[in-house]
């Protein structure tokens, strides 16, 4: 069910250059004689305030949004699973410190903090600024900083349960080193809840990315992202209300797809 929503979006994102060739427009070049054109054969969803094709921009935006969502999920899951496993295995004060940090971060309102972090001028560290690639990298880093927490807590809870099982003792008795016990025996058994958390973190990252881009702190125009397309559309609700529909619908489908995927994974595990 979740895949049924996600696959068409992913396919659309992958096929964006072919769709572009087929329609014969450039989604980055303004066409001022053709602003706010209604849907037609040449522009299936019409054009935006600069005469650019909305369908193509949604598809190219999908590449950015899905890339950010997946990268954040991979990074946050890796970091969170490592922290969770370590905390559960080590116990004692490192566990307590890590979990208090996680509690503290969960209790904070994430978006205002993300706004502050996203406003940092990366140019001061000698990094390139203002390019789409560096925008994406910056967003992935910032969102990962907040994304690992949920995964870490789930991974820790699952690992604690697994570490108490007999097979762990058996592996230790048979002389396996601790690293091998953790990676070969415990990790595969906590992968289920971690995968569910990963699917949910894709949804969270897509929402957060679009919110930041909407606020003008994420992906910068002219590079299209679902969030910054909506920011433009909001200014035009009185003249072109339809332009606001498509990017938001794309976000809705992507996030709902990930949520349903997580639900499906969870119930399959329980069966």
């Amino acid at each position: 069910m979740g895949l049924a929503l996600l696959l068409p979006l992913a396919a659309g994102a992958a096929a964006a250059p072919w769709v572009q060739g087929w329609l014969g427009h450039d989604p980055f070049t303004p066409d001022l004689f053709n602003r706010h054109a209604p849907p037609s054969a040449g522009h299936p969803l019409g054009t935006d305030e600069l005469g650019r094709d909305i369908l193509l921009r949604v598809l190219f935006g999908a590449r950015v949004s899905l890339l950010v969502g997946l990268s954040v999920a991979v990074a946050a899951t890796a970091l969170g699973a490592a922290v969770g496993l370590f905390a559960a295995w080590r116990g004692g004060w490192p566990d307590a410190v890590l979990m208090r940090i996680a509690d503290g971060m969960l209790a904070l309102p994430a978006l205002p903090l993300l706004v502050v972090l996203a406003a940092v001028d990366t140019g001061r560290f000698g990094l390139p600024r203002g390019e789409a690639a560096s925008d994406i990298a910056r967003l992935v880093v910032i969102l990962t900083l907040f994304g690992w927490v949920g995964v870490a807590r789930l991974a820790r809870a699952a690992a604690l349960a697994e570490l108490a099982r007999d097979y762990v003792t058996a592996a230790r008795v048979s002389g396996a080193r601790e690293a091998r016990v953790l990676l070969r025996h415990v990790a595969p058994n906590v992968s289920g809840p971690v995968l569910v958390a990963a699917a949910l973190s894709v949804a969270g990252a897509i929402l957060a990315e679009s919110a930041l881009s909407f606020l003008g702190l994420g992906i910068q125009p002219p590079a299209p992202s679902w969030g910054n397309m909506l920011a433009n559309a909001q200014d035009l609700v009185f003249s072109a209300p339809l332009a606001a529909v498509w990017p938001g619908l794309a976000i809705l489908l992507a996030v709902a797809g990930c949520t349903l995927l997580a639900d499906g994974l969870r119930s399959r595990r329980e069966l």
Binding site: P109, P112, V116, D121, S210, G248, V255, A256
Partner: protein, 312 residues
């Protein structure tokens, strides 16, 4: 109970301290210090003037010294000035906080009330479960800013019933409500899903308990079984969600305030960050964090009041 509160207050203080230090560092890395901004505003200033300004305001000292000085001043109750509004920071902060609390309170009441009702309905009448579940997933996935725009298109642009945003122009409760309706609706819909799903799951579990069968067998009407016997026991998760979602609610309020141009903490933080108003941005961020953590604490305490099993 007292130990719990004391421990949590200590943790809140530690978190606020960590956030303030982190944000101080981050803001130190943001473009333009106040002296740069003064230079941009007044071309007549010379390099020597800028140096004198920096020295006068202590901007030439290292970051950690400035942080210590700021922290000492805040603990004394001196919040400093806002650059953007050119007044004492607290004169901007308090009205914004009040406006945000009104928005948060109304949305929370609507989301929790409606979400709980939907959850109980879906649990009590299995026929209703799939549509409520679908609705919850939809509400959970919809980005708040898009929903806000859609509501504006429908109610402000097409129908013209409600204002698209801003603050009331005339005094009076009706006028205030007109401006509150769309923001509250947006925030409530986005936050309703968690309440509906958790209440549904909890009520379904409780309805399978033996004491519910007892209540049914002694001839109680189904309405009494659901509301008098099942619901109070399923109500704990509502407070769990309230505690867990406090951060999401405040984050949602920020973006809703920006869409509807509602003066409040969210818009204040955004404007302050965008306008290089370091002092105000930091204070507003800490205040928003404190509100969130306070809400979480209250929800946790409420949970313990309702459920004796948690008191331990």
């Amino acid at each position: 109970m007292l130990r719990l509160v004391a421990g949590r207050l200590l943790q809140m203080a530690a978190t606020l301290l960590a956030v303030s230090a982190l944000v101080w560092l981050v803001m130190g890395l943001m473009p333009g210090d106040p002296a740069d901004l003064a230079m941009m505003a007044d071309p007549a200033l010379t390099a020597a003037d800028i140096e004198r300004l920096r020295a006068a305001h202590g901007l030439d000292r290292p970051l950690h010294e400035r942080y210590a000085a700021w922290l000492a001043a805040v603990l004394r109750g001196e919040f400093g000035f806002s650059r953007l509004y050119a007044v004492r920071a607290e004169t901007v902060l308090w009205p914004a906080l009040r406006s945000t609390l009104v928005l948060l309170g109304a949305s929370l009441a609507l989301a929790a009330g409606l979400g709980t009702a939907l959850g109980v309905l879906a649990a009590a009448r299995p026929r209703w479960a799939p549509p409520v579940d679908a609705l919850a997933i939809l509400a959970q996935s919809v980005p708040g800013f898009w929903l806000g725009i859609l509501l504006v298109i429908l109610f402000a642009v097409t129908l013209g019933w409600l204002p698209a945003g801003g603050s009331p122009e005339a005094p009076g409760a009706v006028e205030a409500l007109r401006f509150l309706a769309l923001p509250v609706a947006t925030l409530a819909i986005v936050n309703l899903a968690a309440y509906a799903r958790h209440t549904m799951a909890a009520t379904q579990a409780v309805l399978r308990e033996p004491y519910i069968q007892t209540a049914r067998m002694k001839g109680l009407p189904e309405r009494a079984v659901v509301w008098r016997h099942a619901f109070p026991n399923a109500a704990v998760p509502v407070l769990t969600v309230a505690a867990l979602d406090a951060g999401a609610l405040v984050s949602g309020a920020l973006i809703v305030e920006i869409i509807f141009a509602r003066p409040g903490m969210g818009k204040l933080i955004y404007d302050a960050v965008m306008g290089n108003d370091y002092n105000l941005a930091l204070l507003a961020l800490l205040l928003a964090s404190a509100v969130t953590m306070g809400a979480t604490l209250f929800a946790d305490l409420g949970q313990r009041l309702i459920d004796p099993r948690l008191r331990g």
